[in-house]
């Protein structure tokens, strides 16, 4: 229950971190908040020989508003995001999801970039990024590229990042005034990873609904059949049927916490509740 030996590197700039990553390749791991990586190291399920600690790279942290909406540095702590007025006002879905991300002690260290790069299928932040159609900027010594969140999560703990890339920042469109958001989750205990969760955002003035379901499959599931549901009165039975049809398309995961069919049912329930909330 102790990590295997490694060389610890503490770069001060992104370029320095990228040089180290290029040099050490698959033997290296990037250390962000460490709330997922360090347990795996303690269990020796992961044994990097080089650990590149990003905690002393100030340019990777912080939230700003600009032409790309909200730009969130990869090393911004979950606790800092939860306390951020800009996030609360312009990305309320992120703020709602963060209350379910771990606990007060893990949010002190855990970062948004770390959550996305780790890509746990039941994690909340990947789910929200898929729902919001976020764009993830990745950088390596070879250059910089943008990856849509909807194409980023490939499988369990597997992303579109190459071995020499790190996440620089995440871009999210600011929610327009009057947008409605909902985040619903079912977990064994508050703060645990979800058995199933759903995130939804409704644009004002008939601008449509974007929704996604997490925890059920290997990666967040973007809901395809949302068009037109914000026209007309809210009918919960209709939403339940729609949500059940939506999750039928998902290939569910089964594990010691929940069987696949149960995850699907909870996913449909979370989705119907989220849709009902944004439609009210």
């Amino acid at each position: 229950m102790k990590p295997a030996p490694f060389a610890w590197h503490r770069p001060r700039t992104v370029d320095e971190a990228l040089e180290l990553l290029a040099r050490h390749g698959e033997d290296a791991k990037l250390l962000a908040g460490g709330q997922s990586l360090v347990p795996l190291m303690n269990l020796r399920m992961v044994k990097p020989t080089a650990l590149i600690d990003l905690n002393a790279v100030p340019e990777l942290a912080g939230v700003r508003r600009g032409e790309r909406g909200l730009t969130i540095g990869a090393m911004t702590r979950q606790a800092a995001l939860l306390a951020d007025d800009t996030v609360a006002r312009h990305a309320p879905l992120i703020a709602k999801a963060l209350r379910h991300v771990g606990h007060v002690q893990t949010r002190s260290r855990g970062t948004i970039g770390g959550s996305l790069a780790h890509a746990d299928p039941a994690a909340e932040l990947p789910l929200v990024m898929v729902a919001l159609n976020a764009v993830i900027t990745a950088k390596s010594v070879r250059g910089t590229r943008d990856i849509r969140a909807r194409e980023f999560f490939r499988d369990v703990l597997t992303t579109a990042l190459a071995a020499d890339e790190l996440i620089l920042a995440i871009h999210v469109a600011a929610a327009p005034a009057g947008a409605r958001t909902s985040f619903r989750e079912y977990a064994r205990r508050h703060g645990d990873f979800a058995i199933a969760a759903a995130a939804a955002q409704r644009q004002p003035d008939g601008g449509g609904i974007a929704a996604a379901v997490g925890g059920v499959a290997a990666a967040p599931h973007l809901c395809a059949s949302m068009s037109g549901i914000d026209a007309g009165p809210v009918d919960r039975a209709h939403l339940d049927a729609l949500a059940r049809r939506e999750v039928e398309a998902i290939e569910p995961l089964s594990d010691h916490q929940a069987a696949g069919e149960y995850r699907r049912r909870l996913g449909a329930l979370a989705l119907a509740e989220a849709l009902e909330e944004v439609l009210q």
Binding site: P39, V104, T106
Partner: protein, 150 residues
């Protein structure tokens, strides 16, 4: 790796392996055994300490990452042999039995209180406690102690 850290107000210097966990540095090098180590995988919260004002799980940080920082452990709470008000509330409400989880809970609550947040309802108290596992009390007495320390 050389390391300089302030521990409960006192400057400490050490030379440690990078893989040394902060919790093991606290217990084995500093001999501050009030910080307990339960699961070593971030699930139980027993090892919670305060680093630079933030409550963190010390089994999920390396000692070298505390370099230049200010660390506080449960030993910092009582002053001159007198328990802090939070500890007194725990005593009044019998909010511990075996006591293994107590230091982690006290440090979590201390950090939260210092940044001006405090639960005012049972559900808020339970949400705040969600990162600390207690196998004795069933949490009720801990919730009572939190709500009594307003």
């Amino acid at each position: 790796m050389k390391l300089k850290v302030t521990v409960n107000g006192a400057a400490v210097e050490a030379d440690v392996e990078p893989r040394l966990l902060l919790c093991d540095f606290i217990r084995h090098h500093l001999k501050l055994t009030g910080t307990h180590v339960g699961c070593e995988m971030g699930a139980c919260g027993a090892c919670t300490v305060i680093l630079d004002g933030e409550p963190i799980r010390s089994c999920l940080a390396f000692a070298v990452q505390a370099d230049g920082g200010e660390l506080r452990t449960v030993e910092s709470l009582a002053e001159g042999g007198k328990m802090a008000p939070l500890q007194q509330a725990f005593s009044r409400h019998h909010a511990l039995q075996c006591g293994f989880c107590t230091p982690g809970i006290l440090m979590t609550l201390t950090a939260v209180r210092e940044r001006g947040e405090w639960p005012t309802s049972e559900s808020e108290a339970r949400e705040l406690l969600s990162g600390n596992i207690c196998r004795c009390t069933g949490y009720q007495a801990i919730v009572d102690a939190i709500l009594d320390r307003r």
